[in-house]
């Protein structure tokens, strides 16, 4: 390993600009003549729009234009789309209601887009919006996930019972048979609480139109600018694909919420041509709470069957998933194919059957949030496994170990073929790091102080490296999920890598450069990573699902191999040797068995001056591209152990220790990987202890600010002990599995298993706030009081 190669904790190249305030985020861009957009949003969860009178607003100071859904329709601008088709059990396609960028006839959640004002200043746009008169016929709203299908309120005409799909996966008969022969059945009811992603940078969009060239430009906070361009052009019809440039510059966190193509960027591009001015919109935090796609929101009943030896025989799950008022871009895939295929966890479970009902409600659309389906699956499996172990009076670690998959490859009953792993190795290491053997002594010490101590496991698995295009195509995806790369070698030997991945905190400018430095033997400062601009990078699928290492870097590796192959040809000409005798090692092309060699930079120069070979023999230049389509999902897995202490008098839960042992396959930069683990755990702890989006019965979001929605702060979290085990992934050339979502997937059940262990009963829901824990602790005390 070199100081900057694969495996080295290289300090990040991008940090110089971020620590000095020189990062460039969308809101930092300003274009000459720029005007400002402000969206008038629905104050009602559900209402018919009788009329919208924009006359007074149009005459307000500074107002340039006011547009409604009718204006978009008149220009044949299409609605927002959902790109993953799900079929119900009976074979019928999911019921996708219309999703206009600006409302047409009806609003379906608080924050829904009614009209947009374009004005000289943001303040003038807001003032003008207040002069718009909307005559609403307010309708009753349906909010509750579990009640949606039974409600008399109907969100979309296409779905009389608010059901988008009744989907299933697995073998129902085999699962029923497994339960029929079970010695023990453990049952659990779970709510996976609704979350708001809340990257600290709010979404923003800046649209511009050039009348001279008929070119459109959109600066946007996107995790996947090419996907945004494709959807905006091919489906929504805002501009032709070849005339639309989408730039996603520095982006301040995404966590899934910046994958999707929303109303605001659609309107900004379109309106820029209408008003003949660049149009900028920047979300404020309240808008982000109301209209960014939310995450999770499942209600689940699950049962696990075990035999007389504590071996798991079967699992059956019924989940109702709240999809909100409209189907967001990838919403339908999250509670289906990103969820149920993970229900085998790390365990050898012979039979699994899962039913998922997706429902509409009068709430913000729900889509992928860090982990996307896999945290929900892990919460079901790990809560149920823990509860089963407790009911069987078995040590939860040893119960897990007994049921671990140990032979690979392993075909689960729910699609996935696990390629490699060593789950017991992660468990052993985690038990040691967590000092598990002395836990009872610590519990007794807490008890002496009147405190309740508990320990919870989460032995999670996830499917990342999303994904083999043919496989996801067969499951309903509207796109392939390969990645592209182009490696451009300059005559001076420096290198630019154009990647379809997008970095919004992951540190690609460093890790991708480490790969190039390692493979080409050139200094890391001779490598630039270019991303986030459709005019520079030809195409790409973007960053989500922990895919940028396993898929994005594999594409780069493939392009590098082509560069080296071309370099061999150039070197053979220059060194007057046969191509087969040229070896590339440590950054030099040499003739085998001789001391004749050329540095990589010398070969680059020769490739461009082309003096030593004819153009008929070999094309000049040194630039290669590659598309990499993965052969399988990757399967990062690990064991997290959470140890809590609860003050039963206040209900305050303190995380005393956090141990994470993860197997991410080959690691490019351990510093960055550990950082990803830390951040993921924090979001998972947030879900378990603090966060929850709450709508009241009328559909008002009562947690629509940082004052009301409890974000994890420094004082809510401990320092984390992070360890690694490594089984290289055989499904991609770099052996990478992915690390971006693991913490958020692992953490919630670890926390709740620890709290329920401390309380001595299972009756606690997320978020386990001090009030909820205090109530639960009183319940635990009751029998004692009765004695």
């Amino acid at each position: 390993m070199t100081a900057t190669g694969i495996g080295a904790p290289v300090r990040r190249k991008e940090d110089q600009r971020f620590v000095t305030g020189q990062g460039r985020y969308v809101d930092d861009f300003n274009r000459p003549g720029q005007a400002y957009a402000y969206f008038l949003r629905s104050p009602h969860a559900h209402a018919a729009i009788r009329s919208i009178d924009v006359g007074a607003a149009q005459t307000m100071p500074g107002a340039l234009a006011v547009f409604t859904g009718d204006d978009l329709a008149a220009d044949k601008i299409g609605g927002l789309i959902c790109g993953w088709m799900i079929h119900s059990k009976d074979g019928t396609p999911m019921k996708a209601g219309p999703h206009p960028a600006l409302a047409q006839g009806k609003v379906r959640y608080v924050g829904d887009h009614v009209a947009v004002v374009i004005a000289e200043t943001l303040a003038q746009a807001k003032d003008a919006a207040e002069a718009i008169v909307v005559d609403y016929d307010v309708l009753p709203a349906v909010v509750d996930t579990a009640e949606a299908a039974k409600s008399s309120v109907q969100v979309h005409d296409v779905s009389p019972d608010n059901t988008v799909f009744n989907w299933h996966l697995g073998d129902k008969d085999a699962t029923e048979a497994a339960f029929a022969k079970a010695k023990h059945v453990t049952k659990i009811d779970l709510v996976n609480n609704r979350l708001v992603p809340n990257p600290i940078e709010p979404r923003a969009a800046l649209g511009e139109y050039d009348f001279g060239t008929d070119n459109y430009t959109l600066y946007t906070t996107s995790q996947n600018p090419h996907v945004a361009r494709l959807v905006l052009s091919a489906f929504i019809g805002v501009a032709p694909e070849h005339k639309l440039r989408v730039i996603a510059p520095d982006v301040g966190g995404g966590f899934g919420s910046k994958i999707f193509i929303y109303a605001e960027e659609t309107v900004c591009v379109w309106a820029a041509k209408k008003v003949k001015r660049p149009v900028k919109w920047t979300s404020d935090r309240t808008e982000a709470f109301l209209a960014d796609a939310h995450g999770r929101d499942h209600v689940t009943h699950a049962e696990m069957a075990t035999d007389e030896n504590g071996k798991i025989l079967g699992l059956r799950v019924h989940t109702t998933a709240n999809l909100g008022a409209y189907l967001s871009t990838f919403s339908s895939s999250v509670p289906t194919y990103l969820y149920a295929p993970l229900l085998s966890g790390q365990y050898d479970i012979p039979a699994i059957y899962c039913e998922v009902d997706g429902v509409y409600t009068n709430t913000a659309p729900v889509d992928a949030y860090r982990g996307a389906g896999r945290p929900e699956a892990t919460f079901v499996v790990e809560r149920l496994v823990e509860k089963t172990a407790r009911e069987l009076k078995q040590d939860p670690a040893e119960f897990r170990r007994k049921n671990y998959i140990t032979q690979f490859p392993h075909q689960t009953p729910v699609i996935m073929a696990y390629d490699t792993g060593d789950y017991a190795a992660s468990l052993d290491k985690a038990l040691e790091l967590a000092d598990y053997r002395n836990f009872q002594a610590r519990k007794q010490e807490s008890a002496r102080r009147g405190k309740l101590r508990g320990l919870g496991f989460s032995s999670y698995i996830e499917a990342c490296g999303i994904a083999p295009s043919q496989a996801v195509g067969s499951l309903g995806a509207g796109v392939g999920l390969w990645e592209s790369a182009e490696v451009r070698v300059n005559p001076t030997g420096s290198v630019e890598v154009l990647t379809g991945s997008h970095s919004h905190g992951q540190g690609h400018e460093t890790t991708f450069a480490q790969l190039v430095s390692d493979r080409l033997g050139i200094p890391i400062d001779q490598v630039s990573i270019v991303h986030g601009d459709t005019d520079k990078v030809q195409f790409g699928m973007g960053t989500y699902g922990s895919r940028s290492g396993a898929v994005g870097m594999s594409a780069i590796a493939k392009a590098i191999d082509k560069v080296i192959a071309k370099g061999r040809k150039v070197a053979a000409h220059v060194l007057e040797a046969s191509e087969g005798d040229i070896e590339f090692k440590d950054g030099r092309f040499g003739v085998a068995g001789t001391d004749r060699s050329l540095a990589f930079g010398e070969v680059a120069l020769q490739a461009y001056i082309a003096h030593k070979f004819s153009g008929q023999d070999l094309e000049p230049g040194l630039k290669e591209g590659a598309f990499y389509d993965p052969t399988n999902f990757t399967f990062p897995a690990g064991v997290h152990i959470c140890e809590v202490e609860i003050d039963p008098d206040t209900g305050v839960t303190t995380i005393e220790r956090w141990t994470a042992v993860d197997d991410f396959g080959v690691i490019i930069n351990p510093m960055i990987v550990e950082g990803q683990v830390h951040g993921g755990i924090a979001q998972g702890v947030g879900q378990a202890l603090l966060e929850g989006a709450v709508y009241d019965r009328s559909g008002q979001l009562v947690t629509a600010s940082f004052n009301d929605y409890c974000m994890p702060r420094a004082n809510d979290l401990p320092s984390f002990q992070v360890g690694m085990t490594v089984t290289p992934c055989p499904s991609n050339p770099l052996g990478i599995k992915g690390c971006g979502e693991a913490g958020a997937i692992a953490a919630p059940p670890a926390v709740i298993n620890a709290i329920t262990d401390a309380l001595g009963h299972e009756d606690i829901a997320m978020p386990a706030t001090p009030q909820a824990v205090w109530r639960a602790a009183q319940k635990a005390r009751m029998p004692m009081a009765a004695e």
């Binding site: 300090r11 971020f18 620590v19 935090r285 830390h678 420094a714």
Partner: protein
């Protein structure tokens, strides 16, 4: 309109502004100092923290006119002579940032903590003092390490601290 005159990162500036202009708007829109960020509308997230007359303030909750005749330091003014401030260097060295959006406010708050509490900061103190700054990426683990290390480095670099 109101006239404000203040010193920003060592430079004197005077401008006529709408009286309701926030300090963060003045910095970002008038002076194009876009390193100071806005992450919320309730004075909770701390992405907008700058120093006004030597103390950390949330510039989203400060009117530009309140800074009249004052001395403001933003993230762009922290590094001196082409060298990173010790706290900036510590955030880079300890991977105390990921997306970078909360980072300017986080660093300005961290410098303020050291100015108030001295260089010997334990983990508990740092976590409590960062109450007004939200980060969604790092889980704070490496921020806490960076602040502790940056505090020590500031003590070892008194000249730079004086310059700030």
């Amino acid at each position: 309109m109101a006239t404000v005159s203040l010193t920003v990162n060592g430079q004197s500036v005077t401008a006529d502004v709408d009286p309701r202009t926030l300090l963060v708007q003045f910095l970002r829109d008038n002076l194009r100092l876009t390193g100071t960020h806005v992450g919320c509308d309730t004075s909770q997230c701390g992405a907008c923290v700058v120093h006004l007359n030597g103390e950390a303030v949330k510039s989203c909750t400060t009117l530009a006119v309140q800074a009249d005749a004052g001395v403001v330091t933003t993230i762009e003014g922290l590094a001196q002579g082409g060298e990173l401030h010790p706290m900036q260097a510590a955030f880079r060295e300890h991977h105390g940032l990921q997306c970078g959006y909360c980072t300017p406010g986080m660093i300005m708050s961290a410098v303020d903590i050291v100015n108030r509490k001295g260089p010997d900061l334990d983990e508990q103190t740092i976590r409590a003092e960062l109450e007004g700054n939200l980060c969604r990426c790092t889980g704070y683990h490496n921020i806490v390490k960076a602040v502790a290390a940056g505090a020590q480095a500031m003590a070892e670099a008194p000249l730079q601290q004086a310059a700030e």
